[in-house]
């Protein structure tokens, strides 16, 4: 025993003990430094490599139309897939092509060639427009795989390609070329390496993607993306708009309510395992839930919209016109029941449409194409004069049939000269009668007083120079010149009385006309019924009154009566239906030419009308057709039949009860 302790106390033992203790202390100090002093540094590094950030995409809001059965989907979302292959993993392109071709609806041969082509791409483009020194240096390399195109021809541009099938060493070629041309070595290597991501199909639906996934083919992968889908195809395309590749809404509701519809993406930051699966039990995890986009329900009725589009299509095709548009509006609330355009497009094909140069199809002409509306404006001229107390619509006036103003001759379409009832200004669409109404506002002259009265009537009273503020993108205002504008000549204001020389949109005209035929209340037109947010909050649109005294009741009755007279007396093809008061005004506006004159052959036809059963149902319908190739007047010959067909159908669709007093 004493020997044992003697050994312990010996010098060597002590020395070993000291050394070990020293080493232990060093370890302890190092451990302390790593785990305590530098804790934050190493923790951050670990988290940086372990923690991954996932974006949780928000679901874009859907858009619905109204119908008798309740909201019906117009725009939905669907998950689609890009199918890609890694050619380097595919040992048998034949078999892969054979398995996938029927599902992807592609030719088996094309698919096989595409996969094989990716493995052996043939000529690969490297650089273009080489200069003389570069060309010489490349030729001096004497590498068979290098091809210079355009060198032996008269072309001025020489481009460099590499023949993939003749490459001996990718790195060698890349190094040599990068020393000559202005393309980096890495870039050249990347171009010359067989791609590991080859897209073979896009827009693959869930069912097909699932079928392919179940095949468990090696080297086949998927990328998911959300796509807007349109079950009703091109119905209401201009109202809806589309979503571009950046996820931004363009035109229509998609653009107007872009912020509400797109929502807010969420975020999930978590420590993951080696497969990237988030491990949720960590204090460092961050979860921000996405806020899905709001659902927008429109006031537009699906069936009425479809009917209006159908009528437009038939008439535009039949008359060889350029385009047409129509609005159906509830005159007692401002609610838009239909807003149609033709020709149209399917929003999912917007890229094809744009590439074909047909961007005009995106435009909602009812709100974005102000035009010289022609004789429908006479309604507003006469209404202004009646309100001024200077126009007795049951009286008479002298009609010269034509008159010269500022060296311009204004004529009627009729040939009568003499005293005639003032109501015929509207019934027979007399230009001289409209000028008469203007003169009456100036005590018999087209003076500043008359111009001012007309201008105020059009702007303050009927708001024809103000946007309607409808909830659609790209509404454009019409232009009405002020009386003291240097270009506001006497003839200019005379022309304005029958709708030439200034522009309005159909939406502006429709809402102004509604304010007359409903008794004098101007409602702001609206197209969104409600918006439902992802938290359940529903914001409904209420009918908004802008003015309750646009015209007096007597003026309203007068204009309704005059409008009815257009269809019962003024037109040979007038439309009536027993039990309903139906009236309106035709417009055949000559198209302005670049030299400031008007075309004798090209016109825009309009019809602005209403149907009322005096039992609470009152609708305004305005139709427009551009450049119909017909004999006769575009308003009565092309636009009126559309109004008649839509109105007749509307009465049946809504089962509007007829009024016995109107039979």
């Amino acid at each position: 025993m004493s020997n044992y302790y003697q050994e312990l106390n010996s010098g060597r033992t002590k020395a070993i003990f000291i050394v070990f203790s020293f080493v232990l202390v060093v370890f302890l100090i190092q451990l302390f430094r790593l785990q305590v002093v530098d804790y934050d540094t190493y923790r951050s590094q670990a988290l940086a490599s372990q923690q991954k950030k996932f974006t949780i995409p928000a679901v874009r809001g859907e858009i619905y139309l109204d119908s008798k059965d309740g909201p019906t989907p117009l725009v939905l979302n669907e998950t689609r897939h890009i199918v890609w292959v890694d050619p380097t993993f595919i040992t048998s392109p034949d078999e892969v092509a054979k398995d996938l071709a029927p599902i992807l609806k592609r030719s088996e041969r094309d698919l096989k060639e595409q996969i094989e082509g990716a493995l052996s791409p043939g000529l690969i483009f490297i650089d273009e427009n080489l200069n003389g020194a570069e060309i010489e240096a490349i030729e001096n390399l004497n590498i068979d795989a290098l091809k210079l195109t355009g060198k032996d021809s008269d072309e001025k541009q020489v481009d460099l390609y590499v023949d993939f099938t003749k490459i001996d060493s990718t790195i060698d070629i890349a190094q040599k070329l990068s020393a000559i041309i202005d393309v980096s070595e890495n870039s050249i290597i990347s171009k010359l390496s067989p791609t590991q991501y080859l897209e073979i199909a896009r827009d693959v639906n869930l069912q097909d993607a699932t079928t392919i996934e179940e095949m468990e083919l090696k080297g086949v992968g998927f990328v998911e993306y959300s796509k807007r889908v349109y079950p009703e195809d091109q119905l209401a395309a201009q109202l809806v708009g589309f979503v571009n590749t950046d996820g931004e809404g363009q035109y229509g509701i998609e653009q107007y309510y872009s912020d509400e519809i797109k929502g807010v993406d969420g975020q999930f930051k978590a420590v993951t395992d080696t497969r990237g699966v988030p491990l949720r039990a960590s204090d460092d995890n961050i979860l921000i839930d996405p806020v899905d986009g709001a659902k927008v329900s429109l006031t537009v009725d699906r069936s009425v919209q479809a009917k209006a589009e159908d009528v437009l299509k038939n008439q535009v095709d039949k008359t060889g016109a350029e385009k047409g548009s129509a609005i159906v509006m509830d005159a007692n609330t401002g609610k838009i029941i239909a807003m149609a355009n033709y020709p149209s497009y399917v929003p999912s094909d917007y890229i094809k449409v744009a590439n074909a140069g047909n961007d005009n199809l995106f435009v909602n002409n009812a709100i974005s194409s102000p035009y010289e509306a022609g004789s429908i404006i006479k309604i507003f001229t006469v209404a202004t004069a009646i309100e001024q107390g200077v126009f007795d619509y049951e009286g008479d006036f002298y009609d010269p049939n034509q008159e010269v103003i500022d060296d311009f001759t204004v004529k009627n379409t009729t040939t009568f000269t003499g005293t005639r009832p003032t109501r015929e200004v509207i019934t027979y669409s007399l230009n001289t009668g409209a000028i008469y109404a203007l003169r009456q506002m100036g005590s018999g002259q087209i003076n500043n007083e008359a111009k001012q009265a007309l201008y105020e009537g059009f702007t303050d009273r009927f708001r024809l120079n103000q946007k309607t503020q409808i909830e659609l993108a790209n509404e454009i205002n019409g232009v009405i010149r002020e009386p003291d504008d240097p270009l506001s000549s006497t003839i200019g204001y005379a022309n304005m009385t029958f709708g030439q020389g200034f522009t309005v949109t159909q939406a502006q005209a429709a809402s102004a006309y509604a304010s007359i035929v409903n008794g004098g209340t101007h409602y702001s037109p609206y197209i969104v019924d409600n918006i439902e947010y992802s938290d359940g909050e529903v914001v409904s649109t209420e009918s908004k009154v802008i003015d309750t005294n646009v015209v007096s009741k007597s003026t309203s009755e007068a204009i309704r009566d005059l409008s009815e007279g257009v269809l019962t007396e003024g037109l040979s093809n007038g439309y009536q239906r027993s039990g309903y008061m139906i009236g309106g005004k035709t417009g055949s506006a000559q198209l302005p030419l670049p030299d400031g004159t008007y075309s004798d052959t090209q016109t825009i036809g309009s019809f602005m009308g209403f149907v009322d059963n005096n039992l609470g149902d009152n609708y305004v319908i305005i139709t427009r057709i551009d450049r119909p190739q017909i004999s006769g007047y575009a308003g009565s010959g092309a636009a009126l039949p559309m109004f008649a067909e839509i109105t007749d159908w509307l009465i049946d669709y809504y089962k509007l009860p007829p009024n016995e007093e109107l039979k």
């Binding site: 019906t72 989907p73 939905l76 979302n77 669907e78 998950t79 639906n205 869930l206 069912q207 998911e224 889908v229 079950p231 009703e232 195809d233 119905l235 699966v277 988030p278 491990l279 949720r280 039990a281 699906r302 069936s303 479809a306 049946d652």
Partner: protein, 118 residues
């Protein structure tokens, strides 16, 4: 005067006895752990605690994987729901209904063809 005798038995117990007393008791030996045994026991205890910790962490991580699987299932169901919604909407679309065979057999209603009761 009393005396106590103590005898250490083979098992390390101390046999206590007193003269003229018929009492015998065994007192447990003052066993002490040596340094090595101490180290082993402590190591075993630490290992047990560590094992307990690992068990709980593994359990929690397992829940994470289950959650992930459920989340994947939820996402798949959501996608399926979207696809079905779109299919339903297309089946009811105006264009499809208008072109349907059943629609082609419908006739226009005119007043003459309707008989009103009362």
């Amino acid at each position: 005067m009393t005396y106590r005798t103590a005898a250490i038995s083979a098992g390390g117990q101390t046999r206590q006895s007193r003269k003229n007393r018929n009492t015998v008791s065994y007192v447990g030996a003052n066993t002490k752990l040596g340094p090595v045994s101490n180290l082993i026991v402590v190591s075993i205890l630490l290992a047990l605690i560590g094992l307990l910790y690992l068990t709980q962490i593994t359990k929690t991580s397992t829940y994470s994987y289950q959650l992930d699987t459920l989340q994947d299932q939820y996402n798949e169901d959501l996608k399926l729901n979207q696809a079905l919604k779109e299919d339903a909407a297309r089946l009811r679309s105006i264009k499809r209904v208008a072109n349907a065979d059943a629609t082609s057999t419908l006739v226009d209603i005119s007043e003459e063809t309707i008989e009103f009761k009362n």
